[in-house]
Structures are given as structure tokens and as C-alpha cells.
């Protein structure tokens, strides 16, 4: 039993780390609208740079606002 407790605790720690690491993971986003200083195109953004929301009527496509420029909508290519 002494061996097994750290295994479950380790899993819990790994899960916490993974959850935070996923937020920092860089993803490709298709920036549809023109952004000052940037032309429309595909950009790499981490999840802490965007605020995701549900795209009504479109399955498996993620939509998000750019946190630095809340009026802009970005979509996963």
C-alpha cells in the first residue's frame, strides 16, 4: 500500500500540470478579420491569448476572441 499511494498522488499532480500546460499549448488559428498590424491569415496563438466560445450551428469548429483585441473573431482552420 505504501508504494501505491504515491502513484495516485503522482497522477493527481500530473493532471494539474497537464491542465495548465494545455492552456499554454500553441494552436493554429485562422484570423478572419483584419487586425491592426496584422493581415488576415493563419497565426499561432496559445490558449491564454484567446477566449473561446461556442460557434452556433458549426460543429467541430472553435471560435474565440483575441484577448488583446476583443472585437476580433478567430477560427480554427
Amino acid at each position: 500500500m505504501k508504494k501505491s499511494i504515491p502513484l495516485v498522488a503522482l497522477a493527481a499532480l500530473l493532471a494539474v500540470g497537464s491542465a495548465f500546460a494545455t492552456r499554454l499549448q500553441v494552436q493554429w488559428w485562422n484570423v478572419n478579420n483584419p487586425i491592426p498590424g496584422r493581415t488576415p491569415g493563419i497565426y499561432q496563438l496559445s490558449q491564454d491569448q484567446v477566449k473561446g466560445f461556442y460557434c452556433q450551428g458549426v460543429d467541430n469548429v472553435e471560435c474565440a476572441y483575441l484577448i488583446s483585441n476583443p472585437i476580433m473573431i478567430v477560427k480554427k482552420p
Binding site: 500500500m1 502513484l7 503522482l10 497522477a11 497537464s18 491542465a19 473561446g52 461556442y54
Partner: protein, 159 residues
């Protein structure tokens, strides 16, 4: 492999899944809240579900972390996974559109993939429950045998 070790590994996998899923939802709470409110079958109770799911997942993880409450944690994991899978099944079968309300890396799975992923975890929880019960019964028998042997020895020595 010892039955106890199998239970430990299954518990670790469940703890990882629940803590990861709960934190992913809480870290993107606004998104999760909105997605859940769009879900056709739970729109009216989404205000409750939005808190109940991550809190429930964390509580089950804590119960799996503590040795004494682990059997209860395994049963709760089984029922929670059964509930999630049932919800996915209903959504796949009857919903006109499918808003994903999962978090983190799990959100990159399709609904069908998610369904089979959950089925695997239902199987794991069930295996954990069976192994935990066998291990507990074996321990009870072992303790009873030890007690009998001790009684026998006491009688033999005349204590």
C-alpha cells in the same frame, strides 16, 4: 500482478482523468458555461450542472486518493462515467446539433471518439470495483485465518 496494484493503477488513471477534466473546465469556465447552456437537454439546469460536474469530479478524485474511501470512489467513478456516456449517447442519437462541452485535450476528440473513450473508462472502473472487492474479501479471509491460527495456538499453549 497483484490485485491491489491493479486497483492502484486504475485509481491513478481515473484521478488523472477527473482532475484534468475538472481543471480544464474551471480554467475555461466561461466557455464551458456557454457550451453547456447550448446543450439541448440540460439548458434549464445548466446553472447547476456547470458547477456540479467539476466539483463532483474533484470530490471523486479525493475519494480515490484516500485509501479508506477508494471503494466508494470507484463506484462513484463508474456511475459518473456511465452518466457521461449516456448523455453522449443521447446527444449522438437525438440531438440536432452537437456542442462540445469538454475541456483541454479532450475537446479535440469527436463525439464518437469521446463515446468509446468513456466506454473504456467505464470498463476500467468496473474492473477496479471487481478487483477491489476480491482484494477486500481475500484480506477478510486472511485475517480470519490468522485469528483462528492465533486462537488455536493460544489453546495449544494453554494461555
Amino acid at each position: 500482478m497483484k490485485k491491489n496494484t491493479i486497483v492502484e493503477i486504475i485509481s491513478a488513471l481515473l484521478v488523472f482523468l477527473f482532475i484534468y477534466a475538472a481543471l480544464s473546465k474551471l480554467l475555461e469556465f466561461d466557455k464551458f458555461k456557454y457550451q453547456l447552456s447550448q446543450s439541448p437537454f440540460i439548458t434549464n439546469i445548466s446553472w447547476l450542472v456547470v458547477w456540479a460536474i467539476p466539483v463532483g469530479e474533484i470530490l471523486i478524485s479525493i475519494s480515490l486518493l484516500i485509501k479508506r474511501t477508494r471503494p466508494a470512489g470507484l463506484y462513484l467513478s463508474f456511475f459518473l462515467m456511465l452518466l457521461f456516456t449516456g448523455y453522449i449517447f443521447i446527444m449522438l442519437k437525438y440531438s440536432s446539433y452537437l456542442p462540445c462541452s469538454c475541456g483541454g485535450i479532450l475537446s479535440s476528440m469527436s463525439w464518437k471518439q469521446h463515446f468509446f473513450f468513456n466506454l473504456a473508462f467505464i470498463g476500467l472502473s468496473l474492473l477496479g470495483i471487481v478487483m477491489q472487492n476480491i482484494h477486500s474479501n481475500e484480506k477478510l479471509i486472511k485475517d480470519a485465518v490468522n485469528r483462528n491460527e492465533a486462537e488455536h495456538l493460544k489453546k495449544k499453549v494453554g494461555v
